[in-house]
């Protein structure tokens, strides 16, 4: 039982990291119906910037997270401005934008693998603090786990505030509801999309730093699998829905950790994606998605 609770906590740590990535996917999808394949790579850049922050430049880790979030917000806006907006202006089909997103993803991976950027090899991350283990009765929990869970909760609360209590958030919800109507109401749609990318990318950056602290190994290709899984989590919860992304990510983290702990580590990824396919078949709009009538 104790072991089970500890595994659930491990799953929670993983799921919360996925949640931060999934939020970016779901916000971007909600607004421009694009699976932003480059999102996992923004997460990777976030991990590297955070690592440079606390390990090389000697910043305190909270500052490193903030620096990383700021850098990635700019990167996210630049990706949108340079790669996706020209296609949107042309009225290109969704799939063209999707392929471009794949191109951006490959570009980031290969570019950062160059020797004068991050280099192709794995780097081991030295944590900026010693890991402490606390005991709550028989259950032990590490300071990294507490850190990850706290930071994610704070960021999600912040996101909740931005989306539901500020003007930008209101504009984002309006654009996601009906882009043309929002434009007619005088909302600068391009700017709102830009903000959405900035916020989503900043969250991915934070996820990257937390990931590097929790699983201390980083490489330019580290974003692919967490990216795919976070996207899966977003679909699982109902893409376009923020609570859905959180729920999906937590479930995904649990599924992955518990499978690895009790069933098999070899088939961990297969089971995670098997669940996804089942959910899509049984409830295609995701757990919390709106299964509205299809527009014809």
């Amino acid at each position: 039982m104790v072991q089970f609770i500890e595994q659930v906590i491990n799953g929670l740590q993983l799921g919360f990291v996925y949640a931060l990535i999934a939020l970016g996917y779901t916000m971007v999808y909600g607004i421009i119906r694009l699976i932003n394949f480059a999102h996992g790579d923004v997460f990777m850049i976030g991990a590297f910037v955070g690592y440079f922050g606390f390990a090389v430049w000697g910043l305190p880790w909270p500052v490193a997270i903030l620096v990383s979030m700021a850098v990635c917000a700019v990167v996210g806006m630049a990706i949108e401005r340079l790669a996706y907006r020209p296609l949107r202006a042309k009225g290109a089909p969704n799939i063209a934008t999707l392929i471009t997103a794949i191109g951006v993803s490959l570009f980031i991976e290969y570019f950062t693998s160059l020797k004068f950027v991050f280099g192709p090899n794995y780097r081991v991350v030295a944590r900026p603090f010693a890991v402490q283990v606390f005991h709550l009765g028989p259950v032990s929990i590490s300071s990294v786990q507490i850190l990850v869970i706290t930071v994610v909760l704070v960021l999600v609360a912040g996101l909740q505030y931005i989306v539901y209590r500020t003007k930008v958030g209101k504009a984002m919800r309006a654009v996601s509801h009906d882009r043309d109507a929002a434009r007619l109401m005088g909302i600068d749609v391009d700017r709102v999309i830009s903000y959405t990318f900035a916020i989503g990318s900043a969250l991915a950056a934070a996820a990257g730093v937390l990931f590097a602290l929790a699983y201390p190994q980083i490489s330019p290709f580290m974003g692919i699998m967490p990216g795919l899984k976070a996207f899966t989590a977003a679909v699982l919860g109902g893409i376009g829905s923020i609570p859905g992304a959180l729920l999906g990510a937590v479930l995904m983290g649990q599924a992955e950790t518990l499978t690895a702990a009790y069933i098999t580590t070899d088939f961990r990824d297969a089971i995670a994606f098997g669940i996804l396919i089942l959910v899509l078949l049984l409830r295609p709009a995701g757990l919390l998605g709106k299964a509205g009538p299809e527009k014809v």
Partner: protein, 318 residues
Amino acid sequence: MRARSFAIAGAILGLYGLLELLRQTGIISAYWAQIMDLSLIITISAVGLSLIYGFTGQFSLGHAAFYGVGAYTAGFVSKTLGAGAPGFVLALVAGAVAAGLVALLIGLPILRLRSDYLGIATLGFGVIIRVLLDNSHKLSPTLGGAKGMMGVPQLASFVWIFWLAVGAIWLAANLIRSSYGRACISIREDEVAADLMGVNTTALKTLAFVVGGALAGLAGALYAHRYPFLHPSTFDYLKSLDVLLVVVLGGLGSLTGTVVTAIGWVFLLEWLRAVLPSEYMDLRGVVYALVLIVLMIARPQGLLGGSSAKGGKRRATA
């Protein structure tokens, strides 16, 4: 019409003769011959995806899974039966049939999904197949699991690859022009309308998926008999992207585009390898990605798309 068919057949025969001559005389080196074979194998696989996505509109991010199923099945059959032409033919058939069967089993449930959701489901399916291949040694040690599979007899000569590629293109071209093909295109254009007109959309989507998957399986079977080392990473998500890029860059709904792009793409990548000095070899991936982004922004409808693919006018399906 008849005269035209003869002219095309003659031209293909002539092309084959010319290429075979150049290869035999060594004007095309063994290295480039290998690239040429690879480009034809990729063409077969891409023609399969072109049927699924380009013509029937079913977005798939897991095409490499069928390619992998075909390669491993064929490799297993060939290794078990031993070298020899009958075993090779049986292996090719087994690869295509196995991939087609897997496509049928996975297609029946998931083809109910649309656009992005179908894409993510096929992507998940691709990851699952990759994981299964990684653990395949538990099923049979011959398959090698994550260590890879070696020792498949290298029987796929240029004759086989060239004519099977021609056969695949011929099959696809005829399928597209048949009433089935027109019904498939109507599904791509508007599934609801096609359904209302009495098209059996489920059956046809499955048909396209199975034929497309089987072609990928055939391509994989050829690959297994041309390149001596099979590894699960040869059939992962990035490889699915490769084929998808070929089909989209070639222009959705353009078979010529698919074929030309498949061959051009493989040669472009190899040419980059040849032309870049070795210290800049790392730049290959960067150039690949940049070419892709720039092409996509400049011609979102694909290189040869336009007439048959109504890319720009297609409504976004939410």
